[in-house]
Symmetry: C2
Subunit: 179 residues, 2 copies
DNA sequence: ATCAGCATGTAAGGCGTTACATGATTCA
DNA sequence: TGAATCATGTAACGCCTTACATGCTGAT
């Protein structure tokens, strides 16, 4: 596996569940995963090829039943081992690149109204995403007996809790700036 | 300014305050800014050169009073305008790359103990950083009368509030996983 | 008939990191 | 004297995004 290419782990993790095509993987990434990770086709397809060569994933017989070729990948034993090894690794990189905070930090070069506006924009965005996460949450609560769903549930509650903290901060900060 | 190179804005923002060398800028980035943005020498020095060519920053007479050359940069009017324009832009990209959440999401392929361990590692890290932020906060509270400090204060409280939400989530999640 | 969605992939190019190269100063 | 810090910069390389190229299928 490429040393620092984290997209590999996303793919391995998804394949641990079921066989998927690159297109399917992209859909998952654009779904609930997008809240903490991103990935484009331009990174997914090359990663799949690389990992196939390394024996981490295996191309399944392409389903030509109808129309265009469709290449589903399957996790190999080696791939599963790599995934498990990564989970146990005690080193993680958690990176935040919050342009909103950058604008906040340098807000002093402009009127307070500009910062207030930026906080409002952030707030709007968070509110919308919070609604989505709440829908995810209530759907997951119905199926929490299945082990995997517990993990999805935890990532969702992580999102909800932090977004709610963000919103409280927004209210408080706008008040402070309007004084 | 390079279209998508956000390090430029960090530099511009810092120079809005005072003239700085690349080395100084790095120190600021490694200070309180590191909580929401990162940057290495390999990105700072080239960015400074580019922005000088674009007339956004100006090289001050190098201070050769003692030893090695020391190049301080000064923000030009054009640079200040670019900074202000960016602050007013209503488009932001806030990106999270949380490997901890990725591991959490795929936790189902391993024992619960592995996920619990990963949450504990995250918790430790957050606790440590929270302490640092609290020190920043109490220092800033003493000098809140100065306008700029208000903005720094807001970024710090953002960090504290979210980190505290993280910690609550950690406690709750560990409990859930131990059931 | 047309458009959105399904499906795979490549090419160009930007951004950023790590490691290296170099050398002075300060402090123990 | 040796280590840490100050200070600037380059080179190699990796990761990723955007845009492009291609073409089928199903619904309206």
């Amino acid at each position: 596996m490429a040393k620092d290419r984290k997209i590999d782990l996303v793919i391995l993790g998804l394949l641990a569940h079921e066989d998927l095509t690159g297109y399917d993987i992209k859909k998952y990434i654009d779904g609930s995963i997008r809240f903490f990770w991103k990935g484009s086709f331009g990174s997914i397809y090359p990663a799949l090829s690389d990992m196939e060569m390394q024996g981490l994933v295996k191309r399944k017989k392409s389903d030509n039943s109808g129309g265009r070729e469709k290449i589903a990948y399957h996790l190999t034993k080696k791939g599963e081992d790599a995934l498990k090894a990564w989970l146990k690794e005690e080193k993680v990189s958690n990176e935040l690149k919050y342009e909103t905070l950058l604008k906040l930090y340098f807000g002093g070069v402009e009127d307070r109204s500009v910062t207030i506006r930026n906080i409002e924009l952030f707030e709007e965005n968070i509110k919308q995403n919070l609604e989505i996460l709440k829908v995810y949450k209530s759907n997951l609560e119905k199926v929490l007996d299945e082990e995997d769903h517990l993990y999805y549930y935890l990532t969702v509650t992580f999102g909800i809790d932090t977004y709610e903290a963000y919103l409280k901060w927004c209210t408080k900060s706008k008040k402070l700036l309007k004084k």
